[in-house]
């Protein structure tokens, strides 16, 4: 089943993974799941379901948990302990700890050097591997697709199903090729590519599809940059986004703690090399972006598709014919209190957040640090590393000192101000520039107004206090 004869129909990466994971093909396909990641917010009711039915976790060895969403990022200086937002957060976390203990699941918890945002730690531990099916009760599970895995978010009922059976009923998704050609210009990054794609095809442009990012530009991006792109696939409606595994993938995984070792490594790499899409395979949909034409991107509205190049003007609802789209845009601009037709450049801001499963990895922090070096922040700025491991690497490299000297807050790892469940939030009516993935109304706190952007653009806003084109600042290497 793992080899492809020369006579068979050319297949996409998605089709190869799908075909190797079908357990039963009846009225609905039963698909096997190789890796199940768990966190505190979407799992409690699933474990309760198991207990009520007297079921066990079928494969605790393929199930891994961490704590990220409701975890505080601030340590109380009076007792050196994390300051939890409220008793509900504490209860939810305690419940995950006891559920993992009861069902024999590895938990990278509060005292673990591997704790972090679920989509940051999976890859860095080497849990995420090419050709896998990966699920998690979180829509940004798409991140893991950067390794050539089929990774998608599921609801809590499905979390329970995977815990109990390691399987899910699934409908085969369609193939959507995203051809990324050309070379990025100075100051433009992976985040700008994905924002440009979402703006181009719309927030539901890929519903029912899985993206495969292809082309010269993606081949030349690092794994961390590929993760940033795959992460936001869901913001265009795609449940998953993937990149064919290549030498960059293998180099990243080699020597990761839970990646295969020795002979198993060689065997795994030769298997992984069979996954890339065959020449001549057919995609249901296709889009091409020449990334050399991109500018830094920023959102102006209340969904990630409402994004424009940083020097462009905010669209005018009066110029839109479709009544639904027109009213959405009107509502968004009213929520954001932004007038149509204006440029966002120089718009004052109140907060900057650098973090989230989209942009909290070492290279994201390094990019931001280049901007902070020798400058001071003009607004409240949170820098939240994606994991304990990222935090340690950054501190070993002295990057934390650059942030601290600039006056930014260097926090403990977690989802933090991306979802604002842990006490880190933007005040009502205030503006933030955020490296996270969603600018929905109230996402960063009730009434908060979010501009999504890259770490470079967010850092530029932090040091100027307003929306700034990173290319207008003198930065050494970009």
């Amino acid at each position: 089943m793992w080899s492809q004869s020369s006579m068979s129909k050319p297949k996409t990466l998605l089709e190869k993974i799908w075909d190797t994971h079908v357990v039963v093909e009846r009225e609905q396909t039963v698909v096997y799941i190789d890796l199940h990641l768990i966190h505190e917010v979407t799992s409690p009711q699933a474990f309760t379901g198991l207990k009520e039915k007297g079921l066990k976790v079928r494969r605790p060895d393929k199930t891994f948990a961490t704590i990220d969403h409701s975890l505080p990022t601030l340590i109380d200086s009076s007792n050196s302990r994390l300051s939890f937002a409220d008793s509900m957060a504490v209860k939810q976390i305690e419940q995950l700890i006891s559920n993992c203990k009861e069902f024999g699941i590895e938990l990278y918890g509060l005292d673990s050097p591997h704790q972090g945002i679920v989509h940051v730690i999976g890859p860095e531990l080497g849990l995420t591997q090419p050709g896998y099916t990966i699920v998690c009760g979180d829509s940004h599970t798409a991140t893991h697709g950067a390794f050539g895995a089929l990774a998608f978010g599921i609801g809590t009922t499905e979390v329970e199903q995977v815990l109990a059976t390691q399987c899910l009923f699934q409908k085969k998704p369609k193939n959507y090729a995203v051809n990324l050609e050309g070379k990025l210009r100075r100051g433009v990054s992976a985040k700008d590519i994905i924002l440009a794609l979402i703006a181009k095809i719309g927030i539901d442009g890929a519903t029912g599809h899985v993206f495969e990012y292809r082309g010269y530009a993606i081949k030349n991006l690092s794994m961390e940059e590929r993760m940033t792109i795959c992460n936001m696939s869901i913001e265009a409606g795609a449940r998953a986004g993937m990149v064919a595994p290549d030498e960059t993938t293998f180099d990243y995984l080699y020597h990761r703690p839970l990646a295969p070792k020795g002979a198993a490594w060689k065997e795994a790499v030769s298997r992984w090399k069979r996954f890339p899409t065959d020449e001549g395979a057919i995609f249901d949909k296709e889009v091409t972006i020449d990334v050399s034409s991109l500018e830094p991107m920023i959102t102006f509205g209340t969904n990630p598709a409402m994004a424009i190049p940083i020097s462009a003007r905010v669209p005018d609802p009066e110029s839109i014919a479709d009544s639904g789209q027109k009213s959405s845009l009107q509502q968004a601009l009213s929520y954001m209190d932004i007038s149509p037709g204006r440029q966002l450049l120089d718009h004052p801001i109140d907060t900057v957040f650098i973090g989230s499963c989209t942009n909290s990895r070492l290279s994201d922090l390094e990019q931001a640090a280049k901007v902070f070096k020798g400058r001071k922040v003009a607004v409240k700025t949170l820098v939240v590393p994606g994991s304990q491991s990222v935090k340690k690497e950054a501190e070993d490299a002295g990057i934390d000192l650059i942030f601290k000297e600039a006056g930014a807050e260097w926090r403990e790892p977690g989802c933090s101000m991306c979802i604002a469940m842990n006490g880190d939030q933007v005040a009502p009516g205030k503006y933030s520039v955020s490296t996270s993935n969603r600018n929905f109304e109230g996402r960063q706190g009730k009434g908060a107004r979010t501009f999504l952007a890259s770490p470079l653009t967010a850092a530029a806003a932090a040091v100027t206090g307003k929306i700034t084109d990173i290319r207008s600042l003198e930065i050494e290497i970009l």
Partner: protein, 201 residues
């Protein structure tokens, strides 16, 4: 799960496009460890201000209480995978959502909670909007067996056929438990696992 029976109800109209799950149930309500009380926080940030209910929001209007059908814009349920969204909709008392399209993860989650998603063609949806705008008290009948949304107007019946995958339909019609079905494939799963490549996990 109970079987999904045919029912009739007037509707609540919220015709905004791209309503995301953060609006359906804001993240601060996700700290619960059960499924209770979510209905009262459905659309919390559109429904309440710090001083209480916002009287002009559709869910707060007296005539809309007890209605079981929500008619809403394109791409309903986009965003996060939180199943708290359908839990909140069902907890509030809704049984069917009518739109021109739904986001994928929300669709899965909704159907698993027997919240019926009725996808109409844009022209059909426009007809429904026109009907409600002239007669807001129109009573709709939802018939899953026939995959039909219908209403009477000027003593004539109008009906729209809607698609649904046959597996979800059967699960809802027969009140089937998906987990029970998956567990029944134990042998097939064990066989599959036996021929998996040796994973390093």
């Amino acid at each position: 799960m109970k079987r999904f029976e045919k029912f009739s109800s007037k509707s609540i109209l919220l015709p905004t496009d791209n309503i995301d799950t953060d609006q359906i149930i804001p993240a601060r309500f996700l700290k619960i460890t059960d499924k209770s009380d979510l209905g009262k926080n459905l659309f919390a940030d559109w429904r309440y201000s710090s001083s209480g209910e916002l009287t002009d929001f559709v869910l707060n209007r007296s005539e809309n209480q007890q209605r079981k059908i929500l008619i809403t814009g394109d791409n309903f349920g986009c965003g996060s995978s939180r199943e708290h969204a359908p839990w909140a909709l069902v907890g509030y008392g809704l049984r069917a959502i009518v739109s021109t399209s739904f986001a994928d993860i929300f669709r899965n989650n909704a159907l698993k909670n027997h919240l019926l998603l009725i996808t109409l063609e844009p022209s059909e949806y426009s007809q429904i909007l026109a009907t409600i705008s002239s007669s807001p008290e129109t009573e709709f009948t939802v018939d899953l067996a026939e995959q039909k949304l219908s209403f009477d107007r000027d003593s004539k019946e109008y009906s729209f056929h809607f698609p649904i995958d046959q597996f979800s339909k059967r699960c809802m019609m027969e009140g089937l438990d998906e987990l029970g079905m998956l567990l029944s494939y134990e042998k097939e799963v064990a066989n599959f696992e036996a021929r998996l490549p040796v994973y390093p996990l």
